[in-house]
Symmetry: C2
Subunit: 292 residues, 2 copies
Protein backbone atom coordinates (compact mmCIF):
# COMPACT_ATOMS: atom_id res chain seq x y z
CA UNK A 1 0.00 0.00 0.00
CA UNK A 2 1.46 3.33 -1.03
CA UNK A 3 2.13 6.13 1.39
CA UNK A 4 0.93 9.72 0.98
CA UNK A 5 2.70 12.42 2.95
CA UNK A 6 0.15 14.87 4.32
CA UNK A 7 1.10 18.30 5.68
CA UNK A 8 -0.95 20.90 7.53
CA UNK A 9 0.78 24.29 7.25
CA UNK A 10 -0.34 26.34 10.24
CA UNK A 11 0.30 29.82 8.85
CA UNK A 12 0.60 33.28 10.33
CA UNK A 13 -2.09 35.09 8.38
CA UNK A 14 -2.30 38.87 8.16
CA UNK A 15 -5.81 40.27 8.03
CA UNK A 16 -6.39 42.14 4.79
CA UNK A 17 -3.03 41.52 3.14
CA UNK A 18 -3.66 38.84 0.51
CA UNK A 19 -0.36 39.40 -1.28
CA UNK A 20 1.59 38.73 1.89
CA UNK A 21 -0.63 35.75 2.74
CA UNK A 22 -0.20 34.20 -0.70
CA UNK A 23 3.56 34.60 -0.37
CA UNK A 24 3.50 33.00 3.08
CA UNK A 25 1.36 30.15 1.81
CA UNK A 26 3.52 29.58 -1.26
CA UNK A 27 6.68 29.41 0.83
CA UNK A 28 5.04 26.96 3.22
CA UNK A 29 3.72 24.78 0.41
CA UNK A 30 7.17 24.67 -1.21
CA UNK A 31 8.80 23.83 2.10
CA UNK A 32 6.30 21.05 2.79
CA UNK A 33 6.76 19.64 -0.72
CA UNK A 34 10.49 19.79 -0.10
CA UNK A 35 9.90 17.52 2.90
CA UNK A 36 8.04 15.09 0.67
CA UNK A 37 4.45 16.25 1.11
CA UNK A 38 2.01 15.01 -1.51
CA UNK A 39 -1.03 16.73 0.01
CA UNK A 40 -0.75 20.16 1.64
CA UNK A 41 -3.59 21.66 3.65
CA UNK A 42 -3.72 25.39 4.42
CA UNK A 43 -5.99 27.23 6.89
CA UNK A 44 -9.49 28.61 6.40
CA UNK A 45 -9.58 32.09 4.80
CA UNK A 46 -5.84 31.81 4.34
CA UNK A 47 -5.62 34.59 1.78
CA UNK A 48 -7.80 37.22 3.42
CA UNK A 49 -7.74 36.68 7.17
CA UNK A 50 -10.85 36.15 9.23
CA UNK A 51 -11.99 38.92 11.56
CA UNK A 52 -13.72 41.24 9.10
CA UNK A 53 -15.65 44.11 10.60
CA UNK A 54 -18.45 43.84 8.10
CA UNK A 55 -19.40 42.55 4.67
CA UNK A 56 -18.00 45.60 2.97
CA UNK A 57 -14.56 44.85 4.33
CA UNK A 58 -14.84 41.15 3.47
CA UNK A 59 -15.82 42.03 -0.07
CA UNK A 60 -12.57 43.95 -0.58
CA UNK A 61 -10.65 40.68 -0.16
CA UNK A 62 -13.08 38.37 -1.92
CA UNK A 63 -12.11 36.61 -5.14
CA UNK A 64 -13.70 34.44 -7.75
CA UNK A 65 -12.77 30.79 -8.14
CA UNK A 66 -10.45 32.02 -10.87
CA UNK A 67 -8.91 34.76 -8.75
CA UNK A 68 -5.26 35.21 -7.76
CA UNK A 69 -5.40 32.94 -4.71
CA UNK A 70 -6.93 29.94 -6.42
CA UNK A 71 -4.66 30.47 -9.44
CA UNK A 72 -1.62 30.66 -7.16
CA UNK A 73 -2.44 27.41 -5.33
CA UNK A 74 -3.39 25.59 -8.54
CA UNK A 75 -0.10 26.69 -10.09
CA UNK A 76 1.83 25.39 -7.07
CA UNK A 77 -0.05 22.09 -7.25
CA UNK A 78 0.80 21.75 -10.94
CA UNK A 79 4.43 22.80 -10.57
CA UNK A 80 5.10 20.54 -7.59
CA UNK A 81 2.75 17.75 -8.69
CA UNK A 82 0.93 17.73 -5.37
CA UNK A 83 -2.54 18.45 -4.01
CA UNK A 84 -3.15 21.82 -2.35
CA UNK A 85 -6.23 22.50 -0.22
CA UNK A 86 -6.84 25.92 1.27
CA UNK A 87 -9.50 28.40 2.30
CA UNK A 88 -10.27 31.71 0.65
CA UNK A 89 -12.97 34.39 0.65
CA UNK A 90 -15.10 33.72 -2.42
CA UNK A 91 -17.35 36.14 -4.27
CA UNK A 92 -19.81 34.11 -6.33
CA UNK A 93 -21.08 35.02 -9.76
CA UNK A 94 -24.22 36.36 -8.06
CA UNK A 95 -22.18 38.67 -5.87
CA UNK A 96 -22.69 36.73 -2.65
CA UNK A 97 -19.72 35.99 -0.42
CA UNK A 98 -18.75 32.50 0.72
CA UNK A 99 -16.26 31.06 3.15
CA UNK A 100 -14.82 28.63 0.62
CA UNK A 101 -12.03 26.16 0.13
CA UNK A 102 -10.39 24.84 -3.02
CA UNK A 103 -8.77 21.51 -3.80
CA UNK A 104 -6.31 21.65 -6.68
CA UNK A 105 -4.00 19.06 -8.17
CA UNK A 106 -1.70 18.90 -11.20
CA UNK A 107 -4.72 19.10 -13.49
CA UNK A 108 -6.06 22.29 -11.91
CA UNK A 109 -9.00 23.01 -9.65
CA UNK A 110 -10.78 19.78 -8.75
CA UNK A 111 -13.39 21.04 -6.30
CA UNK A 112 -14.66 24.12 -4.51
CA UNK A 113 -16.46 23.78 -1.20
CA UNK A 114 -18.54 26.53 0.33
CA UNK A 115 -18.67 26.19 4.12
CA UNK A 116 -22.16 24.92 4.90
CA UNK A 117 -22.21 25.60 8.65
CA UNK A 118 -21.34 29.20 9.48
CA UNK A 119 -19.79 30.26 12.76
CA UNK A 120 -21.00 33.29 14.70
CA UNK A 121 -20.41 36.56 12.80
CA UNK A 122 -19.75 34.65 9.59
CA UNK A 123 -23.54 34.58 9.36
CA UNK A 124 -23.42 38.34 8.83
CA UNK A 125 -20.81 38.07 6.08
CA UNK A 126 -21.25 34.89 4.10
CA UNK A 127 -23.94 32.84 2.41
CA UNK A 128 -23.73 29.20 3.50
CA UNK A 129 -22.97 26.48 1.01
CA UNK A 130 -25.82 24.25 -0.02
CA UNK A 131 -23.99 21.12 -1.14
CA UNK A 132 -22.66 17.96 0.45
CA UNK A 133 -18.90 18.02 0.97
CA UNK A 134 -16.93 17.26 -2.20
CA UNK A 135 -15.08 13.96 -2.53
CA UNK A 136 -12.61 13.57 -5.41
CA UNK A 137 -10.15 10.94 -6.54
CA UNK A 138 -6.59 12.14 -6.95
CA UNK A 139 -3.25 10.52 -7.73
CA UNK A 140 -2.60 10.27 -3.99
CA UNK A 141 -5.96 9.02 -2.76
CA UNK A 142 -9.61 9.85 -2.52
CA UNK A 143 -9.94 13.22 -0.78
CA UNK A 144 -12.78 15.11 0.84
CA UNK A 145 -12.87 18.71 1.94
CA UNK A 146 -14.83 20.78 4.43
CA UNK A 147 -14.23 23.91 6.49
CA UNK A 148 -13.94 24.29 10.30
CA UNK A 149 -17.41 24.33 11.91
CA UNK A 150 -18.60 21.83 9.25
CA UNK A 151 -16.61 19.31 11.33
CA UNK A 152 -19.00 19.71 14.26
CA UNK A 153 -21.80 17.97 12.37
CA UNK A 154 -21.08 14.25 12.35
CA UNK A 155 -23.95 13.68 9.92
CA UNK A 156 -22.08 15.84 7.41
CA UNK A 157 -18.76 14.11 8.01
CA UNK A 158 -20.39 10.69 7.71
CA UNK A 159 -21.18 11.45 4.08
CA UNK A 160 -17.58 11.68 3.01
CA UNK A 161 -16.91 8.24 4.44
CA UNK A 162 -19.96 6.85 2.67
CA UNK A 163 -18.65 8.47 -0.53
CA UNK A 164 -15.37 6.62 -0.12
CA UNK A 165 -13.10 9.42 1.10
CA UNK A 166 -9.81 8.21 2.57
CA UNK A 167 -8.62 11.59 3.83
CA UNK A 168 -10.75 14.54 4.88
CA UNK A 169 -8.89 17.84 4.46
CA UNK A 170 -10.23 20.61 6.67
CA UNK A 171 -8.98 24.18 6.61
CA UNK A 172 -9.92 25.74 9.95
CA UNK A 173 -9.63 28.89 12.04
CA UNK A 174 -10.35 27.36 15.43
CA UNK A 175 -11.24 30.12 17.88
CA UNK A 176 -9.62 29.65 21.28
CA UNK A 177 -11.84 28.93 24.28
CA UNK A 178 -10.75 28.24 27.85
CA UNK A 179 -10.22 24.58 28.67
CA UNK A 180 -8.97 22.53 31.59
CA UNK A 181 -5.17 22.66 31.81
CA UNK A 182 -4.60 19.00 31.18
CA UNK A 183 -7.07 18.58 28.33
CA UNK A 184 -6.60 18.57 24.58
CA UNK A 185 -8.62 21.14 22.66
CA UNK A 186 -12.13 19.82 22.10
CA UNK A 187 -11.67 20.56 18.38
CA UNK A 188 -8.95 17.90 18.33
CA UNK A 189 -11.01 15.47 20.42
CA UNK A 190 -13.83 15.83 17.90
CA UNK A 191 -11.51 15.21 14.96
CA UNK A 192 -10.16 12.08 16.65
CA UNK A 193 -13.67 10.77 17.26
CA UNK A 194 -14.80 11.56 13.71
CA UNK A 195 -11.80 9.77 12.25
CA UNK A 196 -12.33 6.66 14.38
CA UNK A 197 -16.11 6.66 13.90
CA UNK A 198 -15.71 6.71 10.13
CA UNK A 199 -12.31 5.01 9.84
CA UNK A 200 -10.87 7.82 7.73
CA UNK A 201 -7.79 10.01 7.97
CA UNK A 202 -8.42 13.68 8.82
CA UNK A 203 -6.00 16.58 8.32
CA UNK A 204 -7.23 19.72 10.07
CA UNK A 205 -5.13 22.82 9.46
CA UNK A 206 -5.45 25.64 11.97
CA UNK A 207 -3.74 29.06 11.92
CA UNK A 208 -1.68 31.55 13.89
CA UNK A 209 -1.57 35.31 14.58
CA UNK A 210 -4.15 37.15 16.63
CA UNK A 211 -6.67 39.28 14.74
CA UNK A 212 -8.58 42.11 16.39
CA UNK A 213 -8.58 40.25 19.68
CA UNK A 214 -9.46 36.87 18.13
CA UNK A 215 -7.02 34.17 19.18
CA UNK A 216 -6.74 30.64 17.78
CA UNK A 217 -6.24 27.20 19.21
CA UNK A 218 -3.28 26.47 16.94
CA UNK A 219 -3.73 22.72 17.06
CA UNK A 220 -3.26 21.50 13.49
CA UNK A 221 -3.35 17.74 13.45
CA UNK A 222 -3.24 14.69 11.17
CA UNK A 223 -5.26 11.79 12.59
CA UNK A 224 -5.42 8.15 11.48
CA UNK A 225 -8.50 5.91 11.09
CA UNK A 226 -8.09 4.66 14.67
CA UNK A 227 -8.39 8.28 15.82
CA UNK A 228 -4.78 8.65 16.97
CA UNK A 229 -2.73 11.70 15.96
CA UNK A 230 0.07 10.90 13.51
CA UNK A 231 1.35 14.49 13.60
CA UNK A 232 0.38 17.26 15.98
CA UNK A 233 -1.72 18.52 17.52
CA UNK A 234 0.59 21.54 17.31
CA UNK A 235 1.09 23.28 20.59
CA UNK A 236 -0.57 26.64 20.05
CA UNK A 237 -1.10 29.49 17.62
CA UNK A 238 2.37 29.89 16.16
CA UNK A 239 3.56 29.01 12.68
CA UNK A 240 4.31 25.32 12.26
CA UNK A 241 3.73 22.20 10.24
CA UNK A 242 2.08 18.91 11.15
CA UNK A 243 3.39 16.38 8.64
CA UNK A 244 2.80 12.64 8.54
CA UNK A 245 3.06 9.75 6.15
CA UNK A 246 -0.35 8.12 5.75
CA UNK A 247 -1.25 4.77 4.21
CA UNK A 248 -4.50 6.22 2.93
CA UNK A 249 -5.73 2.89 1.58
CA UNK A 250 -6.24 1.76 5.19
CA UNK A 251 -9.32 3.97 5.20
CA UNK A 252 -10.99 1.71 2.67
CA UNK A 253 -11.20 -1.04 5.27
CA UNK A 254 -14.17 -0.25 7.50
CA UNK A 255 -14.00 -3.45 9.53
CA UNK A 256 -13.65 -3.30 13.31
CA UNK A 257 -14.03 -7.03 13.91
CA UNK A 258 -14.84 -10.03 11.76
CA UNK A 259 -18.51 -9.06 12.12
CA UNK A 260 -18.39 -5.27 12.44
CA UNK A 261 -18.04 -2.54 9.84
CA UNK A 262 -18.53 1.11 10.80
CA UNK A 263 -20.63 1.88 7.74
CA UNK A 264 -22.52 -1.36 7.21
CA UNK A 265 -23.47 -1.47 10.90
CA UNK A 266 -25.40 1.79 10.57
CA UNK A 267 -29.19 1.50 11.06
CA UNK A 268 -30.45 4.38 8.90
CA UNK A 269 -34.05 3.31 9.43
CA UNK A 270 -33.60 4.20 13.11
CA UNK A 271 -32.09 7.64 12.51
CA UNK A 272 -35.26 9.67 12.18
CA UNK A 273 -34.26 13.25 12.78
CA UNK A 274 -36.81 16.02 12.53
CA UNK A 275 -35.57 19.49 11.74
CA UNK A 276 -35.06 21.53 14.90
CA UNK A 277 -36.03 25.13 15.33
CA UNK A 278 -33.57 27.44 17.05
CA UNK A 279 -33.55 25.50 20.21
CA UNK A 280 -32.10 27.44 23.07
CA UNK A 281 -35.04 26.16 25.05
CA UNK A 282 -36.11 22.72 23.91
CA UNK A 283 -39.68 21.64 24.28
CA UNK A 284 -39.47 17.92 24.96
CA UNK A 285 -41.51 15.91 22.47
CA UNK A 286 -43.29 12.77 23.50
CA UNK A 287 -41.03 10.21 25.06
CA UNK A 288 -39.51 7.77 22.60
CA UNK A 289 -39.36 5.01 25.15
CA UNK A 290 -40.33 1.47 24.42
CA UNK A 291 -43.14 0.36 26.65
CA UNK A 292 -41.95 -2.61 28.62
Amino acid sequence: MSEAVVACCQLEIVLGDPDANRATAAAAVRAAAGRGAHIVVLPELASSGYAFTDQREARRFAESTNGPTVRSWAALAAELDIVVVGGFCEQGADGRLHNSAVLADCSGVRAIHRKAHLWDREKLLFAPGDRPPPVVSTAFGRLAMMVCYDLEFPEYVRQVAVAGAELLCAPTNWPAFPRPDDERPMEVVRVQALAATNRIFIAACDRAREERGAQWVGASVVVDPDGWPLAGPLDGPVAGVALASCRLGLARDKRLTERNDVLADRRPELYRLPAVARASAITPPDALSTSP
Copy 2:
Protein backbone atom coordinates in the same frame (compact mmCIF):
# COMPACT_ATOMS: atom_id res chain seq x y z
CA MET B 1 -30.55 25.20 38.72
CA SER B 2 -30.75 21.98 40.69
CA GLU B 3 -27.94 19.46 40.80
CA ALA B 4 -28.28 15.76 40.11
CA VAL B 5 -25.59 13.45 41.40
CA VAL B 6 -24.76 10.84 38.77
CA ALA B 7 -22.80 7.67 39.54
CA CYS B 8 -21.37 5.01 37.25
CA CYS B 9 -20.73 1.83 39.26
CA GLN B 10 -18.00 -0.09 37.46
CA LEU B 11 -18.74 -3.58 38.77
CA GLU B 12 -16.86 -6.85 38.89
CA ILE B 13 -19.29 -9.11 37.08
CA VAL B 14 -19.14 -12.90 37.26
CA LEU B 15 -20.15 -14.70 34.08
CA GLY B 16 -23.18 -16.88 34.67
CA ASP B 17 -23.83 -16.00 38.31
CA PRO B 18 -26.81 -13.64 38.29
CA ASP B 19 -27.47 -13.98 42.02
CA ALA B 20 -23.96 -12.82 42.83
CA ASN B 21 -24.15 -10.07 40.23
CA ARG B 22 -27.46 -8.76 41.56
CA ALA B 23 -26.00 -8.71 45.05
CA THR B 24 -22.91 -6.84 43.82
CA ALA B 25 -25.08 -4.37 41.94
CA ALA B 26 -27.41 -3.81 44.89
CA ALA B 27 -24.51 -3.12 47.22
CA ALA B 28 -23.01 -0.67 44.73
CA VAL B 29 -26.32 1.10 44.15
CA ARG B 30 -26.84 1.46 47.93
CA ALA B 31 -23.31 2.75 48.39
CA ALA B 32 -23.72 5.29 45.58
CA ALA B 33 -27.06 6.43 46.97
CA GLY B 34 -25.34 6.76 50.33
CA ARG B 35 -22.94 9.19 48.68
CA GLY B 36 -25.88 11.19 47.39
CA ALA B 37 -26.39 9.69 43.95
CA HIS B 38 -29.74 10.42 42.31
CA ILE B 39 -28.99 8.51 39.12
CA VAL B 40 -26.98 5.27 39.16
CA VAL B 41 -25.74 3.64 35.98
CA LEU B 42 -24.62 -0.01 35.93
CA PRO B 43 -22.76 -1.88 33.17
CA GLU B 44 -24.09 -3.69 30.14
CA LEU B 45 -25.24 -7.27 30.81
CA ALA B 46 -24.60 -6.61 34.49
CA SER B 47 -26.65 -9.56 35.72
CA SER B 48 -25.44 -12.26 33.35
CA GLY B 49 -21.95 -11.41 32.22
CA TYR B 50 -20.95 -11.07 28.59
CA ALA B 51 -18.77 -13.75 27.05
CA PHE B 52 -21.35 -16.44 26.34
CA THR B 53 -20.16 -19.39 24.28
CA ASP B 54 -23.40 -19.65 22.36
CA GLN B 55 -27.06 -18.74 22.41
CA ARG B 56 -27.93 -21.76 24.51
CA GLU B 57 -25.71 -20.51 27.30
CA ALA B 58 -27.03 -16.94 26.99
CA ARG B 59 -30.57 -18.20 27.21
CA ARG B 60 -29.87 -19.81 30.60
CA PHE B 61 -29.30 -16.31 32.03
CA ALA B 62 -31.94 -14.43 30.05
CA GLU B 63 -34.92 -12.86 31.83
CA SER B 64 -38.10 -11.10 30.93
CA THR B 65 -38.59 -7.40 31.63
CA ASN B 66 -40.36 -8.58 34.76
CA GLY B 67 -37.60 -10.95 35.81
CA PRO B 68 -35.54 -10.91 39.00
CA THR B 69 -32.93 -8.42 37.74
CA VAL B 70 -35.35 -5.75 36.56
CA ARG B 71 -37.48 -6.28 39.68
CA SER B 72 -34.42 -5.95 41.88
CA TRP B 73 -33.28 -2.69 40.30
CA ALA B 74 -36.81 -1.25 40.21
CA ALA B 75 -37.18 -2.09 43.90
CA LEU B 76 -33.91 -0.34 44.69
CA ALA B 77 -34.99 2.70 42.69
CA ALA B 78 -38.27 2.84 44.59
CA GLU B 79 -36.74 2.24 48.01
CA LEU B 80 -33.97 4.79 47.56
CA ASP B 81 -36.02 7.22 45.43
CA ILE B 82 -33.42 7.29 42.70
CA VAL B 83 -33.07 6.30 39.05
CA VAL B 84 -31.30 3.04 38.24
CA VAL B 85 -30.10 2.20 34.73
CA GLY B 86 -28.48 -1.14 33.97
CA GLY B 87 -28.02 -3.80 31.36
CA PHE B 88 -29.42 -7.33 31.39
CA CYS B 89 -29.92 -10.26 29.06
CA GLU B 90 -33.54 -10.12 27.92
CA GLN B 91 -35.67 -12.89 26.54
CA GLY B 92 -38.58 -11.35 24.68
CA ALA B 93 -42.10 -12.69 24.58
CA ASP B 94 -41.29 -14.21 21.19
CA GLY B 95 -38.33 -16.08 22.65
CA ARG B 96 -35.65 -13.96 21.02
CA LEU B 97 -32.73 -12.71 23.11
CA HIS B 98 -31.76 -9.06 23.39
CA ASN B 99 -28.88 -7.13 24.90
CA SER B 100 -31.15 -4.77 26.82
CA ALA B 101 -31.07 -2.04 29.42
CA VAL B 102 -33.72 -0.82 31.83
CA LEU B 103 -34.36 2.59 33.32
CA ALA B 104 -36.34 2.49 36.56
CA ASP B 105 -37.37 5.20 38.99
CA CYS B 106 -39.57 5.35 42.08
CA SER B 107 -42.62 4.64 39.92
CA GLY B 108 -41.16 1.47 38.44
CA VAL B 109 -39.80 0.58 35.01
CA ARG B 110 -39.84 3.65 32.77
CA ALA B 111 -38.13 2.32 29.66
CA ILE B 112 -36.47 -0.72 28.17
CA HIS B 113 -33.89 -0.32 25.42
CA ARG B 114 -32.74 -3.15 23.21
CA LYS B 115 -29.23 -2.51 21.90
CA ALA B 116 -29.65 -1.57 18.25
CA HIS B 117 -26.03 -1.95 17.11
CA LEU B 118 -24.59 -5.34 17.99
CA TRP B 119 -20.89 -5.96 18.56
CA ASP B 120 -19.07 -8.93 17.06
CA ARG B 121 -20.33 -12.26 18.47
CA GLU B 122 -23.40 -10.55 19.92
CA LYS B 123 -24.73 -10.93 16.38
CA LEU B 124 -24.77 -14.68 16.96
CA LEU B 125 -26.65 -14.36 20.24
CA PHE B 126 -29.03 -11.41 20.18
CA ALA B 127 -31.66 -9.83 17.97
CA PRO B 128 -30.96 -6.11 17.53
CA GLY B 129 -33.41 -3.52 18.80
CA ASP B 130 -35.50 -1.74 16.23
CA ARG B 131 -36.37 1.47 18.05
CA PRO B 132 -34.81 4.89 18.56
CA PRO B 133 -33.21 5.30 21.97
CA PRO B 134 -35.73 6.01 24.75
CA VAL B 135 -35.86 9.47 26.33
CA VAL B 136 -37.91 9.89 29.52
CA SER B 137 -38.55 12.69 31.97
CA THR B 138 -37.75 11.86 35.58
CA ALA B 139 -37.68 13.78 38.85
CA PHE B 140 -33.98 14.42 38.31
CA GLY B 141 -33.96 15.37 34.65
CA ARG B 142 -34.69 14.14 31.18
CA LEU B 143 -32.76 10.92 30.62
CA ALA B 144 -31.86 8.87 27.58
CA MET B 145 -30.43 5.38 27.46
CA MET B 146 -28.41 3.31 25.02
CA VAL B 147 -25.93 0.46 25.20
CA CYS B 148 -22.19 0.43 24.37
CA TYR B 149 -21.67 0.13 20.57
CA ASP B 150 -24.82 2.24 20.05
CA LEU B 151 -22.54 5.14 21.10
CA GLU B 152 -20.43 4.71 17.98
CA PHE B 153 -23.24 5.96 15.75
CA PRO B 154 -23.47 9.73 16.12
CA GLU B 155 -26.68 9.76 14.10
CA TYR B 156 -28.27 7.64 16.81
CA VAL B 157 -26.92 9.78 19.64
CA ARG B 158 -28.08 12.95 17.90
CA GLN B 159 -31.66 11.81 18.31
CA VAL B 160 -31.59 11.89 22.08
CA ALA B 161 -30.42 15.50 22.00
CA VAL B 162 -33.16 16.39 19.53
CA ALA B 163 -35.63 14.67 21.88
CA GLY B 164 -34.48 16.91 24.73
CA ALA B 165 -32.34 14.50 26.73
CA GLU B 166 -30.11 16.17 29.29
CA LEU B 167 -28.17 13.06 30.32
CA LEU B 168 -27.47 9.99 28.23
CA CYS B 169 -26.96 6.90 30.40
CA ALA B 170 -24.94 4.19 28.68
CA PRO B 171 -24.22 0.79 30.18
CA THR B 172 -21.15 -0.59 28.41
CA ASN B 173 -18.75 -3.51 28.30
CA TRP B 174 -15.92 -1.79 26.46
CA PRO B 175 -13.53 -4.43 25.09
CA ALA B 176 -9.89 -3.49 25.56
CA PHE B 177 -7.77 -2.79 22.48
CA PRO B 178 -4.14 -1.69 22.38
CA ARG B 179 -3.64 2.07 22.32
CA PRO B 180 -0.71 4.48 22.44
CA ASP B 181 0.64 4.77 26.00
CA ASP B 182 -0.21 8.43 26.44
CA GLU B 183 -3.68 8.33 24.93
CA ARG B 184 -7.11 8.08 26.51
CA PRO B 185 -9.23 5.14 25.40
CA MET B 186 -10.95 6.02 22.11
CA GLU B 187 -14.25 5.03 23.75
CA VAL B 188 -13.81 7.97 26.12
CA VAL B 189 -12.71 10.31 23.34
CA ARG B 190 -15.88 9.43 21.45
CA VAL B 191 -18.06 10.06 24.50
CA GLN B 192 -16.40 13.45 25.00
CA ALA B 193 -17.01 14.40 21.38
CA LEU B 194 -20.62 13.20 21.45
CA ALA B 195 -21.33 15.20 24.60
CA ALA B 196 -19.82 18.39 23.18
CA THR B 197 -21.38 17.93 19.74
CA ASN B 198 -24.84 17.61 21.28
CA ARG B 199 -24.32 19.66 24.45
CA ILE B 200 -25.56 16.86 26.69
CA PHE B 201 -24.18 15.06 29.72
CA ILE B 202 -23.15 11.44 29.18
CA ALA B 203 -22.59 8.79 31.86
CA ALA B 204 -20.93 5.69 30.43
CA CYS B 205 -20.54 2.80 32.86
CA ASP B 206 -17.94 0.17 32.02
CA ARG B 207 -17.10 -3.03 33.94
CA ALA B 208 -14.35 -5.11 35.51
CA ARG B 209 -13.24 -8.75 35.71
CA GLU B 210 -11.85 -10.71 32.80
CA GLU B 211 -14.15 -13.25 31.16
CA ARG B 212 -12.83 -16.13 29.09
CA GLY B 213 -9.91 -14.02 27.93
CA ALA B 214 -12.01 -10.90 27.27
CA GLN B 215 -10.58 -7.86 29.04
CA TRP B 216 -12.25 -4.47 29.45
CA VAL B 217 -11.13 -0.86 29.21
CA GLY B 218 -12.50 0.01 32.65
CA ALA B 219 -12.94 3.69 31.86
CA SER B 220 -16.31 4.64 33.30
CA VAL B 221 -16.81 8.38 32.91
CA VAL B 222 -19.29 11.20 33.46
CA VAL B 223 -18.85 13.97 30.87
CA ASP B 224 -20.36 17.46 30.76
CA PRO B 225 -21.89 19.29 27.75
CA ASP B 226 -18.52 20.89 26.96
CA GLY B 227 -17.11 17.36 26.62
CA TRP B 228 -14.91 17.48 29.74
CA PRO B 229 -14.92 14.62 32.24
CA LEU B 230 -16.51 15.52 35.58
CA ALA B 231 -15.64 12.13 37.06
CA GLY B 232 -13.36 9.47 35.64
CA PRO B 233 -12.36 8.10 33.29
CA LEU B 234 -11.56 5.36 35.79
CA ASP B 235 -8.09 3.96 35.40
CA GLY B 236 -8.73 0.40 34.27
CA PRO B 237 -10.87 -2.69 34.74
CA VAL B 238 -11.17 -2.81 38.51
CA ALA B 239 -14.22 -2.10 40.63
CA GLY B 240 -14.83 1.61 41.18
CA VAL B 241 -17.27 4.48 40.98
CA ALA B 242 -17.26 7.63 38.85
CA LEU B 243 -19.55 10.06 40.66
CA ALA B 244 -20.24 13.70 39.83
CA SER B 245 -22.75 16.41 40.56
CA CYS B 246 -24.33 17.61 37.31
CA ARG B 247 -26.42 20.68 36.64
CA LEU B 248 -28.42 18.77 34.06
CA GLY B 249 -30.45 21.82 33.04
CA LEU B 250 -27.30 23.18 31.37
CA ALA B 251 -27.95 20.65 28.61
CA ARG B 252 -31.10 22.48 27.61
CA ASP B 253 -29.01 25.41 26.40
CA LYS B 254 -27.68 24.46 22.97
CA ARG B 255 -26.03 27.81 22.26
CA LEU B 256 -22.34 28.02 21.45
CA THR B 257 -22.32 31.72 20.59
CA GLU B 258 -24.93 34.42 20.23
CA ARG B 259 -25.55 33.07 16.73
CA ASN B 260 -24.79 29.36 17.05
CA ASP B 261 -26.84 26.48 18.40
CA VAL B 262 -25.67 22.91 17.95
CA LEU B 263 -29.09 21.64 16.95
CA ALA B 264 -30.52 24.58 15.03
CA ASP B 265 -27.31 24.90 13.00
CA ARG B 266 -27.82 21.43 11.55
CA ARG B 267 -28.50 21.32 7.79
CA PRO B 268 -30.60 18.15 7.48
CA GLU B 269 -31.28 18.84 3.82
CA LEU B 270 -27.55 18.32 3.20
CA TYR B 271 -27.29 15.02 5.09
CA ARG B 272 -28.30 12.64 2.35
CA LEU B 273 -27.04 9.26 3.40
CA PRO B 274 -27.71 6.21 1.29
CA ALA B 275 -27.70 2.83 2.98
CA VAL B 276 -24.34 1.14 2.66
CA ALA B 277 -23.77 -2.51 1.93
CA ARG B 278 -21.17 -4.37 3.93
CA ALA B 279 -18.37 -2.21 2.81
CA SER B 280 -15.02 -3.71 3.51
CA ALA B 281 -14.13 -2.59 0.02
CA ILE B 282 -15.93 0.60 -0.90
CA THR B 283 -16.75 1.29 -4.50
CA PRO B 284 -16.48 5.04 -4.83
CA PRO B 285 -19.68 6.58 -6.13
CA ASP B 286 -19.61 9.59 -8.40
CA ALA B 287 -17.72 12.50 -6.96
CA LEU B 288 -19.86 14.89 -4.97
CA SER B 289 -17.70 17.85 -5.84
CA THR B 290 -19.07 21.19 -6.80
CA SER B 291 -17.88 22.14 -10.24
CA PRO B 292 -15.97 25.38 -9.94
